[in-house]
């Protein structure tokens, strides 16, 4: 995927590698090291051990990584379904610069408010005594308030859709903008249906944007503590909460082991996605 840095001066290339090694690789190596030690009385015991990994398994903490990935994957998929048509319309559907500017601004403005204050609003809406339950009861659709609307995986997923929509839209929008209008016109002139053009021209050319969108949406969501905490009501335990609980008792080794487990799964997943994308891009073009 990356072009070798032939046009970059070796000095700046090397300094980048050095900085990356210091700020990214070194802490990761530390994480690996810590996960193979144990702690006693708040002190690290410098003897190799797999106890931390055994603890991750015995406490059921490994399920936290699975659940976190599951939620992030579902939300990312929903974002793709919502963001692709929107970004396509924004890039190609509307010719008005004003509409574009306003749309992009509207996507940005919610970020002026903190995530907590945007999220907490859902609590009132989805609660047992909130307007949705009240309306459903009034209409006779339900006899008892729905308790799964709030403090459930459903509410966490719903709450995550809004905050992570723009991170999917922006890269897609940029990628679609780069597609030359003449390419689309040529496809049409050659008799391709809109669906055919979409799958065989727009999707392959937009893949870099989709890849970036997935990375910017999926990865930060995995570490997001705010929405799951506020809307999960402690019923939906995600990675960040589990790690935080460990850090509060200074259990660094198990926290490291849990993080390493997530890192391994993530690297495996991203490699898989990269491989598929590369293959698809090659075949598609």
């Amino acid at each position: 995927m990356f072009r070798p840095p032939t046009h970059v001066a070796p000095a700046s290339y090397m300094s980048f590698v050095l900085i990356w090694g210091l700020v990214a690789l070194l802490p990761t190596a530390g994480l690996l090291l810590w996960s193979t030690l144990t702690m006693e009385n708040f002190q690290i015991v410098w003897e190799p051990s797999l106890q931390a990994y055994r603890d991750v398994l015995s406490s059921g903490r490994w399920q936290v990584t699975i659940r976190t990935l599951e939620i992030a994957a579902i939300v990312t998929l929903i974002e793709i379904l919502l963001a692709v048509p929107f970004a396509l319309w924004l890039a190609k559907g509307t010719k008005s610069a004003g509409v574009r500017t306003v749309s992009l601004a509207l996507l940005t403005i919610p970020f002026f408010l903190s995530l907590s204050s945007r999220t907490i609003v859902w609590r009132g809406v989805l609660g047992l005594n909130g307007p949705i339950n009240a309306a459903l009861l009034q209409l006779g659709i339900i006899q008892e308030p729905l308790d799964w609307l709030l403090f459930s995986q459903f509410s966490v997923i719903l709450g995550l859709i809004g905050p992570y929509f723009p991170t999917m839209v922006f890269p897609l929008y940029l990628a679609f903008m780069l597609i030359d209008d003449e390419v689309l016109a040529a496809s049409k002139d050659l008799g391709a249906s809109p669906a055919f053009t979409f799958w065989n021209v727009i999707v392959p050319l937009g893949l870099p944007g989709l890849g970036a969108g997935i990375v910017f949406t999926f990865v930060p969501m995995i570490g997001d503590p705010v929405v799951p905490e506020l809307l999960g009501g402690g019923n939906v335990v995600v990675l960040s909460a589990s790690v935080q609980s460990l850090l509060r008792i200074l259990n660094y080794t198990v926290a490291s082991a849990l993080s390493v487990l997530m890192l391994v799964i993530l690297v495996a997943m991203i490699s898989l996605v990269a491989a598929i994308t590369a293959r698809f891009a090659k075949g598609g073009l």
């Binding site: 406490s59 907590s116 709030l150 009501g233 335990v237 609980s245 509060r248 008792i249």
Partner: protein, 387 residues
């Protein structure tokens, strides 16, 4: 401090009275200035619950300036500050949630208190001074009691659950009539010992709910998981504001919570009560501890500060502002009388005295942020949350 919503012990940092000044205190360390009277400055690292909106009384009484630097209520953070950052070099006095002195005392980071160095020490009730949250396992007195209380649960008053009567913790943990209507605090620190208290009351073999063995912890969590599967619990709260909302909006009808939650809802006219418990309470204590580095002049100033915290001015302010108990309620009453406080304020202090006599004297249990098997207990809690 974005973490107002994090789970463990955030009570001290988010409480109503503490919250307002906490914000100000966090923005910059609070410097009390009295250039004329000051002959020195005492530097305190403390949780925000114990901070006052203004320290005029402190300066007038002791002739010292006070620099109060707030710290989030989080045992992991204290240990880090004290051990790794050697905060004892910079601070004359620590005011933290009790429980941590067992380890920081044994490791030589805290020094033992000398009772003779404080004028007010003899006036503090023996029950309170002997709290395991102030003493090491061998009985060494490391801490002086600053602020404390006995926690239970709040509930909407009904025929089944009238106000004022003694209720069992079973109302929270094993209540078929309230399936899906109970909220718990999202921390092992209170919820596991409270469940243990209930099981112990039913005859289970549990020694100290606040210092459980791995087997006891497993038994408690097995029970909690069974109740979770039965659908007993609606949600788990992480911050003071959340707990106010959940009980106030009737998202939960019964909620393990802090006393100011119920006080706030009652002020809003809601018919809620704070339970008197038949099995006992979750008692907590914030203590003042001396760093081992404090010597000579610094040590003398630290003792002067502790003495003032044990006195009437401080106790009266805490009772009225937060409804929490302090070491010397008699002196608080005296202070209120001397300064012409009104009947309502005096009543708040008297309420506290009765509460302390009724609740603090019960044997079980003192909240312990650092039980011997804390790793196992936290891990069992994770198992419950996963289930």
């Amino acid at each position: 401090m974005k973490k107002s919503s994090s789970s463990l012990l955030t009570r001290r940092s988010v409480l109503r009275a503490g919250a307002a000044l906490g914000g100000a205190a966090l923005a910059s360390p609070f410097y009390a200035r009295n250039a004329f009277a000051a002959t020195g400055k005492v530097r305190v690292l403390g949780v925000t619950t114990v901070a006052l909106p203004a320290w005029d009384g402190f300066m007038a009484d002791t002739g010292l300036e006070i620099e109060f630097v707030p710290i989030e209520s989080n045992p992991g953070l204290y240990v880090q500050e004290v051990i790794a950052n050697e905060a004892g070099d910079d601070f004359d006095l620590f005011i933290f949630d009790g429980g941590i002195e067992d380890r920081l005392g044994a490791s030589g980071h805290f020094q033992a208190l000398d009772p003779a160095a404080m004028k007010m020490w003899d006036k503090v009730s023996a029950d309170v001074k002997a709290s395991p949250l102030l003493q090491g396992p061998d009985g060494t007195q490391y801490g002086a009691p600053i602020v404390f209380n006995a926690d239970s649960f709040g509930y909407w008053v009904s025929d089944d659950m009238p106000a004022g009567e003694d209720l069992s913790w079973g109302m929270v943990f094993e209540n078929e009539a309230m399936l899906g209507k109970v909220a718990l605090e999202d921390t092992w620190l209170t919820t596991m010992p409270n469940a243990a208290l209930y099981l112990k009351g039913k005859g289970a073999a549990i020694g100290d709910p606040s210092n459980m063995t791995p087997e006891e912890a497993k038994m408690v969590v097995d029970f909690l998981i069974e109740r979770k599967k039965a659908g007993q619990f609606r949600a788990f709260w992480h911050s003071y504001e959340e707990s106010v909302d959940m009980l106030g909006n009737q998202e939960a009808m019964i909620e393990e919570c802090w006393e100011p939650v119920v006080k706030q809802l009652q002020r809003e006219g809601k018919d809620v009560a704070y339970a008197n418990c038949s099995e006992g309470y979750s008692k907590w204590m914030i203590g003042a501890y001396l760093p081992s580095q404090a010597e000579d002049e610094r040590l003398a100033r630290a003792y002067t500060a502790i003495d003032w915290f044990l006195g009437g001015d401080y106790g009266a302010q805490i009772a009225v502002n937060q409804g929490y108990a302090t070491a010397n309620p008699e002196a608080s009453l005296q202070f209120a009388a001397d300064n012409g406080w009104d009947a309502e304020q005096t009543a708040a202090i008297e309420d506290n005295m009765a509460k302390v006599e009724r609740k603090m004297a019960l044997p079980d249990y003192w909240q312990n942020a650092s039980p011997d098997h804390v790793d196992v207990i936290e891990s069992e809690w994770a198992r419950f949350k996963q289930a």
